[in-house]
Each structure stands twice: as structure tokens, then as C-alpha cells.
Subunit: 99 residues, 2 copies
Amino acid sequence: MTISEISKICKALGEENRVKIVKLLTGGERCACDLLKDLNITQPTLSHHMKVLSECDLIITRREGKWSYYSLDCETLTEFRGFIAGLDCNKSRRRCSCR
Amino acid sequence: MTISEISKICKALGEENRVKIVKLLTGGERCACDLLKDLNITQPTLSHHMKVLSECDLIITRREGKWSYYSLDCETLTEFRGFIAGLDCNKSRRRCSCR
DNA sequence: TGATCATATTGACAATGATCTATATGAAGT
DNA sequence: ACTTCATATAGATCATTGTCAATATGATCA
């Protein structure tokens, strides 16, 4: 996973409602109108957010009749978790090389 | 750590250069002019990015003479890692409650 | 004190994004 | 066929953001 992909995912999660959506989906897949009940936004706005989350492969959409079911994309999420897990702080001091 | 704080951190990481900066800081603290060498941006832009990273408490600034040294804020990073680690996918299907 | 260096701030601009209303699409039921 | 329902798309608006050139700040050194 490239830095570009990482930052794209982070950008997607840089909006509160989208973090809430992802958090909700950790409980299993949900249809749009169910998600809508837990968020204070209109239906088109939710649709927009789902598109953003799809475009960075954080979620998968499954169509069933007139309902769209959304769920987390395990593969992307696993890679992303791995990257974030690798960001550990390091207290070592490195001399500034600017003369 | 609230959803609002999480999304603020993600928004900060939603920019490629800032992900690179955080990644660089996992190697230990660095001064601005050293970071600048690894990025294709001007000094004011770097300064702006460092401010954004500071404002969500991802980094700590230490002033030493004319140099500013930046390092990762372990506490914030640990909490953030914890949140992301808790986002696991769940393949269970939940019926849509929309009639 | 005057020059130089590292970093921060200001101000401007173009691009992006979150949100809404209105409308389209497409499936299901009558 | 017509209506209804769930979701998507279009278009508009307002706020935010990444970037740079110019300038300010504040430390160090001659």
C-alpha cells in the first residue's frame, strides 16, 4: 500500500460522519437507510460519503433488490491497520544537519 | 479519544506530505530543514503542515536555538493506533430495517 | 549592532469538499 | 402501466485547504 493510498484512506476518514459510518460497519453490513438513521445528514449526502469510502476501497457495496448493503473491505482495512500499527514513536534525537 | 479527534487526526494524515513527515519521524526527531530535504515543498508549506500536525497533537515541537525539532507524540499516536486497530471487518449480514 | 540563518506568519489564489434541493434511476408492489 | 420506495446523480453554494512569494520573528555570529 503506497503513501498515496494511505493518505487517500485517511482523507476519507477525515470527515466525522465517515468515521462514524466505518465504526457502524464494524458491527456487520448495513443498508443505506439504516445508516441514515444514525447520522444527521440527508440521503444524498450519505450517498456521497459512501462513494468516497468506496473509492478508497474501504467499503464494499452489495446490491439486493432496491437496497444497497455496505460492508467493510477486510483486505484494505487489514493493510491500513498494518500501516498505522507501524507508526510507533521513537524518542531518539537526531542532530539537525543544517550546519 | 472522541470521533471528532479521530477524524481530525485522519484529516491531518489525509495529505501525502504529512503522511511522509509522520513516517520520517518514526525514525526519531528531526529539524525542519532536514525534513524539507525529503519533501518537494517550500519552507512555508512545511511550516504549515507542521502546524496542522501539531494541532491534532500528532507531533511535539522542541525549540533548540534557531532550530525546531519535531517528534511524534507517543500518547496521541498510541490512542490513535488503538482506535484503528479496533476497526475490524465483520462479514455478518444485518437485515435492512426499511420495510 | 548588523548580517545571516531557521522557522513562522501573512495574504493571495486556485482547487477541493460537504452539504443541500431537485431530479434521475431502477426495483417492487398494486 | 402506474405508483412507491431506496439509492444515485446533478448542480449550486459556501467553507476549507495546499501552495507560494513576501515578510516577520528571533536566535546566532562576526
